[in-house]
């Protein structure tokens, strides 16, 4: 072994990391290790709905129901307005028809009276 190699052995001696190194490793292990669920637990997990998913489903359902109810009432209002307009048209037609009938009667009445005067 030459002097350079001896110097290298001297320079590259093992040294310790900072204090608390083991603790840092163990805490990293603790945060990154998730205990493996048992068979029954895994089967039950498939049947249950996670809370966040339940909230999302609830909110979506509430939104859809609100939109549906609003649409239904709007449709009902439009139908009522349509019915009212139809009634008004029918009434107007009925009035117009009555007036026409009266006018026809008046015309016919005059026609019948004129020849008797001559």
């Amino acid at each position: 072994m030459n002097p350079l190699e001896e110097r290298l052995i001297e320079s590259l001696r093992r040294k310790d990391p900072s204090p608390g190194f083991e603790q840092k490793v163990l805490s990293r292990i603790a945060t990154q290790t998730v205990p493996r669920a048992g068979l029954w637990q895994r089967m039950l997990t498939g049947l249950t709905i996670p809370r966040y998913r339940l909230t999302t489903v609830g909110l979506t359902a509430a939104l859809l129901i609100s939109v549906g109810v609003a649409g239904y009432y709007q449709e009902q209002r439009k139908r009522a307005e349509g019915e009212a307009a139809k009634s008004q048209v029918m009434l107007a037609l009925q009035i117009a028809s009555n007036r026409l009938n009266q006018a026809q009667k008046a015309v016919l009445g005059r026609g019948n009276r004129s020849p008797s005067r001559d």
Binding site: N2, P3, L4, E5, R7, L8, I9, E10, S11, L12, R13, R14, K15, D16, P17, S18, F21, E22, K24, V25, L26, R28, I29, Q32, T33
Partner: protein, 178 residues
């Protein structure tokens, strides 16, 4: 000195205290390989933590305490190379690379050792690991070849070239007889 087989068996069975004992026993080896390769303590410490985390995940594959030591040296070496390649993608300035403040030169061993470590850190990555494994871990060249997955002759040639380069740099910069 190797750790007892009993400690390893306990750690494999999930005994946290036994695993902590393994970390305590091997931390200086893992940390020092990383430190002599990366030349920065915070990086070496992070890398060493990663190695022990990987060990924890692979404890069942460890057959004996001798295998454990081999496994740790091998994983640390390969992680060093990976780390270096990742780091080389981003620009960085290491405190260790900054010029030394002007001060009268004191020819003492700590300074020389530091200078030598700095010269080692400038070697190519494979050579750096070979030097660390040879002189820090006192491994035979065949063992180094096995750890690094390279032919024995490659280890020999890397080592010879590295020693020649270190000797030349040390002589020219420090003007010390080597």
């Amino acid at each position: 000195m190797d750790l007892g087989e009993e400690t390893l068996t306990k750690a494999v069975r999930g005994d946290q205290a036994a695993f902590a004992a393994i970390v305590r026993h091997h931390k200086s080896m893992v940390y020092s390989i990383a430190y002599h390769f990366l030349h920065e303590s915070w990086q070496a410490e992070e890398l060493a933590q990663d190695v022990f985390l990987q060990l924890f995940q692979n404890l069942k594959k460890i057959e004996s305490s001798a295998h454990l030591t081999f496994w740790l040296r091998r994983v640390t070496s390969h992680r060093c190379i990976d780390w270096n390649r990742r780091q080389s993608l981003r620009p960085r300035v290491s405190l260790e690379e900054l010029p030394e403040p002007a001060a009268p030169e004191v020819r003492s061993d700590p300074l020389l050792a530091r200078r030598l470590r700095q010269l080692v850190s400038n070697l190519p990555e494979k050579s750096r690991l070979i030097i660390a494994l040879r002189y820090q871990e006192d491994l035979q060249l065949a063992e180094i070849a096995e750890i690094l997955d390279i032919p024995l002759n490659t280890v020999k040639s890397h080592l010879q070239r590295s020693l020649a380069k270190l000797e030349e740099q040390l002589t020219s910069t420090e003007k010390l007889p080597v």
